[in-house]
Amino acid sequence: MGTELCERMLSDLEKAKRPVLTATKCSLDNSQYSPKVGYLTPGNKKVSSELNVSSVKKMSRAIFMLEILLRNVEIANINTKRELYYVAKGLVKHETKLRPLDFQDQDESDSVIDFICEMMEAYREELNCVADDRGGQTYSKQLVVVETELDGTQSTIDLSTLGTAPYQPKNRPQNLTLRAKEKIDFCLIIESQGTANTLVANGFTKRHNSILIGAQGVPSNAVRAWVKRIQEQLRVPLFFFGDLDAYTMQNIYRTLRAGSAASLIRNSDFCAPEVKFLGVLPEDIAKYDLVDYPVKESDLQEARALKKARDALSNDPFFKDKRNKELRGILDWLVKNKRRCEQQSFISVDPRDPQMMEKIIIDKIKNGNYID
């Protein structure tokens, strides 16, 4: 794919024709959603970048970085974005002729890598460029993971042998095969890593045949692919448990379940459409007497999340779809009421009972108190 692109460019240049690089437009206005597919898919819109005086620097940098990435794929070498930044800087410093390409900071080289991925419609991971392992720490007494390394070596990890320590899924979870030692009843993905730790420390995984994952905020590619892996290979019910606020609904849950507009081209491999929204739900506030409080509109981040929620209600195909009317209802409730409730509010229902959060979660799962 990379060499094809280069061939096209060189051939155009030979004919004194401007090479045009085309990529799928990754934005909400080019996103489509079908409940049958289950995640956001790209529309027909494309963005083109033509070689001219203004873009010659960007294209030179892209081809320079592409050469490094293609070599990595060829020799089965993996680098993080940061490593690639330093590799590129080192080459530029070593070769005087390349000096004009120099990157001032990592953001510059990161955007070149993203540009290459969009052009080639490839995942970063496919080009052996991975992010640091972040999020997705997993606990279970029933789950066994078999990892196939690049050289074909296989390792088996029985999560029940890790005690209360978590298993950290890798950035390429596609290399992992999963199996259950005994029947797993459900998988719970928790927004906060800390809350997942607390539940495990209090014996959640001992009492319930389950998988517990800490998402650590907005799920990284690794977390998204890991949850998809669990959905596909174990066929267990998946639940997401997080805050009741606009940011969690749109940026965390929606991304986990249906992907994001920015990653339209890779949503198919990075979404788990079966993840259900366990809560916190608006009705939980009254039902469990949870502590909630108003959204601070003076807080820039919260105000931005509210604005984004309003936009989502009118433009996001996921929330506009009638199958998701209940999720849309929650977003609508959040925009109208401007209130929020943290996942940790389950603890304060009875602060003297360390298992209170666990009890409510199980109660909600048993009673079907979640949104499909």
């Binding site: 240049l13 030979e14 070689l51 081809i63 004009p100």
Partner: protein
């Protein structure tokens, strides 16, 4: 009981009487102490008000006053000024953190009658110019006497004066001391000496001060400013720690300071109006009004009677016997009647040619724009604004983010202190210089290696203080200054626009040269392409990018066309300036033009300098 009460009240009253007596005695005593001080005593105690507020300012003010006097004297006598000045350190001063400084200024002016020397240098408010409404540098006769006072106070020496008039065979020399009590100059060590020139005056001060060369309040800035606004002056200067230099005149005509016009009635207050009448003795009021004021005509006199209800007999009466109430009626009527604004003939300008020629003397410049506005009436006073903007070649650099250097002038005298509150600076900061191609922070002075010189000339400049450091920023004046600056900015933008376009083209070409080969080389390496393919791709890339520079090339050609037509117009406007240029010195705004600035003085020196 009643007796006791009476005693108590009596005691209290007695105490009060005693206290009152004491107060009365104190008042009487203090009344005896009220004395009248002379003007000299006042200024001697308040020298900070006239520019002697620090050792640095003392040196600068002394030099400035001496030089102003020399230039004014030369211009009054129609002589092209040739000035020699020296500023040197003699040793430590008596005041803390000062040096003893010798300041010497010599001119080729008409010389001073020995009988007037004491008045000129040793008496406050003795001036030939006070209140005459002319655009001379000096106005009140305070400055040079203050310098003498400072010299006396700090070094206990007066001012050494040598002066020769054309008719005298030898020069008269003396030391001027001041009798502060009586505001009188005292001459001592009188004598005569040989003087090589037919006429002229030199003055020498030894005073405590400190020499500051650089910065806005520095001596070099003062000299540079004086050179700019006096194209008809030749200057030789020697300053400690600075190479001596001579700057030749570039204009061979002496500016004629226009005679003052009669005052305009609308600029007067009642008291002034009545005092003005007394100067004319016995004269009919109507005649006095026509002779003593400008813009009062027969038609105006008719209007006073027919429109403003003034009694005819007031105009027919003798002005010296006009009762106060009739004076008041006359004053009110004349204030209400329509009059033409004051005449503008009393202002003096340097002229665009003179400024253009002079600006080359202050440094190595790339290009410049000059502008002389027509005289206008501002705050009911005649006034003319002139602006010169030049870019200094030696201070050019990619990262030059310093503020422009502002040179302010009032009646051709540089203003170097208290910049922020000056009308000129307020006007400069109010202009949007970005639209003319200069960088400018919000509400600030523009940035870059430029000199922005602004001159205000008027017989009645409203200074904010006695030391004449700042011009009062009235709305009308700031607006007039803004217009002048904007017009000059438009002229300057012709150069900058061409330069920006040329820079843009150069950047594009550079861009192509830098990245084109990298792109082709890398593609070739990835594909393992042959040299032929790479050469063909390089040629193809060059052709593609060549097309991209067409637009900017056209813009550049347009900007060059606009600059060329502006230069043609400038050549006709500044005929005198361009006649004096060599063929290769055409100031096209490119790096080709490099006029020679100040030339170093001959080693031998001349005369007493």
């Amino acid at each position: 009981m009643a007796k006791k009460q009476v005693k108590k009240v009596t005691k209290k009253l007695a105490a009060e009487v005693d206290a009152s007596a004491e107060v009365i005695s104190r008042v009487r005593k203090s009344a005896k102490q009220i004395t009248t001080s002379s003007t000299a005593e006042y200024f001697a105690k308040n020298l900070q008000q006239v520019g002697f507020s620090s050792p640095v300012k003392a040196v600068l003010t002394t030099l400035k006053e001496a030089l102003d006097n020399s230039l004014d004297a030369c211009e009054d006598a129609g002589i092209l000024p040739e000035i020699r000045l020296q500023v040197e350190k003699l040793g430590p001063g008596t005041l803390k953190n000062t040096d003893q400084i010798r300041i010497y200024v010599e001119d080729n002016g008409p010389g001073i009658d020995p009988d007037d020397v004491a008045k000129v240098f040793g008496e406050y408010l003795a001036s030939s110019k006070f209140g005459r409404g002319r655009c001379s540098r000096g106005q009140q006769g305070i400055g040079i006497s203050a310098a003498t006072t400072w010299a006396m106070q700090t070094t206990a020496t007066g001012a050494r004066v040598v002066t020769k008039t054309k008719s005298a065979r030898k020069a008269f020399t003396c030391v001027v001391d001041m009798d502060l009590k009586n505001n009188k100059g005292i001459l001592r060590d009188k004598g005569t000496v040989e003087w090589s020139s037919p006429h002229g005056t030199s003055i020498e001060f030894k005073l405590d001060g400190r020499i500051q060369l650089n910065g806005e309040g520095g001596l070099l800035n003062y000299i540079r400013s004086t050179i700019l606004l006096n194209p008809h002056m030749t200057l030789h200067y020697e300053i400690s720690d600075v190479p001596s230099a001579s700057v030749d005149r570039v204009v061979n005509t002496v500016p004629v300071v226009p005679q003052a016009t009669e005052p305009h009635p609308h600029t007067m207050k009642l008291g002034e109006f009545m005092s003005h009448a007394r100067l004319f003795g016995r004269m009919k009021t109507s005649v006095w009004l026509k002779r003593g004021f400008s813009r009062v005509t027969d038609k105006v006199l008719q209007d006073l009677v027919s429109q403003k209800g003034l009694k005819r007999k007031v105009l027919d009466s003798f002005v010296d016997s006009l009762p106060d109430d009739e004076f008041k009626a006359l004053f009110s009527a004349i204030q209400a009647v329509d009059l033409l604004p004051p005449a503008t003939t009393s202002v003096l300008s340097v002229g665009e040619d003179g400024l253009a020629l002079s600006i080359r003397r202050i440094g190595d410049i790339d290009f410049f724009a000059v502008l002389s506005r027509k005289p206008v009436i501002c705050d009911f006073k005649p006034l003319q604004v002139e602006v010169a903007i030049a870019r200094l070649r030696e201070r050019r650099g990619e990262d030059n983010e310093e503020q422009v250097q502002v040179l302010r002038f009032a009646n051709r005298v540089p203003l170097q202190f208290d910049k922020a509150s000056c009308a000129i600076v307020k006007a400069i900061t109010s202009v949007n210089w970005r639209s003319y191609g200069l960088k400018q922070p919000k509400n600030g002075l523009p940035l870059g290696p430029y000199i922005v010189a602004v001159s205000v000339v008027s017989p009645f400049i409203k200074f904010k203080n006695a030391s004449k450091e700042t011009i009062d920023a009235s709305d009308e004046l700031v607006e007039e200054l803004r217009r002048a600056l904007m017009q000059t900015g438009q002229r300057l933008s012709r150069y900058l626009s061409r330069e920006h376009k040329a820079g843009e083209l150069e950047q594009r070409v550079q861009h192509i040269e830098q990245f084109g080969p990298i792109l082709v080389e890398t593609l070739g390496r990835i594909l393992g392409a042959s040299d032929e393919r790479k050469q063909a791709a390089t040629a193809g890339l060059a052709r593609i990018l060549e097309k991209d520079t067409k637009g900017i090339k056209k813009d550049l050609a347009d900007a060059e066309g606009r600059l060329a037509s502006y230069l043609e117009e400038k050549k006709s406007r500044l005929a005198g300036f361009f006649e004096g240029l060599d063929q290769d010195e055409q100031f096209t705004g490119t790096d080709a033009a490099a006029p020679a600035p100040v030339k170093p003085a001959a080693k031998s020196g001349k005369g007493k300098v």
